[in-house]
Amino acid sequence: MNLLRLLPEFIMLGTAFLLLVLELFLPRGSRKGYAVIGILGIAAAAISLPYQDFGPALAELFLQDQLSIYFKWLFCISGVLILYIVMLYEDTVKNWRGEFYSLILFALSGMMMLASASDFVGFYVSLEFVAVCLYVLAAYLTESRVTSEAGLKYLVTGALASGFLIYGISFIYGATGATGFAEVAKALQTVEPTGYLVLGIVLTVLGLTFKISSIPFHVWAPDVYQGAPTPVTALLAAASKSAGFVVILRVLFGALGTVKGEWVAFIAVISGITLLFGNLAAMPQKDLKRLIAYAGIGSAGYLLMGVAAASEMGAGAIMYYLLTYIFGIAGTFISIVVFYNSEGTDKIESYAGLYKRAPLLAFSLFIGLLSIAGFPPLGGFIAKFYIFMAAVKEGLWVLAFIGAMMAIIAMYYFLLVIKSMYLRQPANEAPIQVDMMTRGLLYFVNAVTILLGIYPGPVTDWVMSIAQGVF
């Protein structure tokens, strides 16, 4: 029964519906229990992952393979961490708290569908499913003007990018006569690449740059990261970016891998511009969430460097990068939410002297931000190292050089934040309380980030073995 291959998605959807039905019967009030139900649902979905058999599902619209399983693991991990962040953040939301949890679960199940999409139709439907949930979530705090503005910007750019995407897909279909990724790849072995195919590839890639927040559809990222509710920012930064890259791996490496000469240069140019823009624009930022948004644009540039390498090593490096990125983002955003609950602001200057007030929060930000920047010996360093190695192996020297320069700039702007947390005097000495659960989770997340840096062997071996099958 091939529907069973979509079991993890069904479990997630079922949990989301369960929460919606519960919402009808419960009186207004706290919904923190929902986070527990949601985490249990995600755990059930995750438990079913190792027992999945590989193969197509739903008339070959979806495909269960090692790549999809790996990314489903990523979505399960980020889902648990994000639901915990939502629980911490919940009191800031005035209305419809229960829906917030369901929408996050819906978005995650859409991303899991995206991870196993093996046909342009299934891929587009899953992508829109995720997008609709995220549009609502980004504008969730209806009484805040900043959030409404963020939601509107996200919606308008998203609709434009979707238009590009579906137009590009139609050209690829016109050039190859197929919508399934495997069939497209098969058709391209015999069909000579035409101008229409290249136009289709360019438009499809442009449409996908919206999801991963790289040039040219990056403009939404700073405003939305800053304005959206913080858990949604974490979801966008960690899970949504991973979903964008699994699709890029499937479309470019899987379906269009045989014509990589047509797109490698294009991706390399996008990657270079994204690296320069994201990191240089991050320097003058005053708001931590906005800073992370620009740094996230820079990260998209690094990940695209792995795509431009167009090799198995590049694919493996992307997968490892996303894993370390999720843990870096989780440590950072849990600290941001705890700090926001106590102080009500995300401004970098208000983080001054955080070390004296809450050593653990300062330490988590230290580890998380430096891992995102790629500081040895943290996880992000190994990931960036693999990306550079993949790029250099394929002869992308210029791109690797830009990347290395920008990595130094990334250290600079993240170290400014860390300097203000550790060396400057706090305006107010009162310590910030962090409860036991959050403490434990922060220790765990930081330990994983450090462990991914000093003992990457098992995960990188796994990732590289998955990458063998991507092309």
Binding site: L20, V21, E23, L24
Partner: protein, 121 residues
Amino acid sequence: MLLSYLPILIMIGFATAMALGALFASFLMRPRNPYREKLSPWECGMEPVGDATGGHFRVHFFIIAILFVIFDVETLFLFPWAVLLTDKSISLFIFAEMIIFVAILALGLIYAWAKGALEWV
């Protein structure tokens, strides 16, 4: 290959010429005799109230519109399903699938109802 679309091009040209020609001919032939009553907007024989171009209507209509679209699409989906239902080999399976689909939509309607989306404030 493109030449096979020539009849469509001719048809477009013909339709455009026809529409413009009719407008132009009536412009030449019609009597011109404007007066105030005739120029006022016609509103079911009533005295016009206010300015019709403002376009103010309740934003609440959008929820009704969305609910309408959802159930409209559901109906659209039911027709091909009903045709296929006579095929004995898959009928039980697609019957269950459609029941789940309709149940999810019904849950949505109940949810919107219970949350007061259908209240006319």
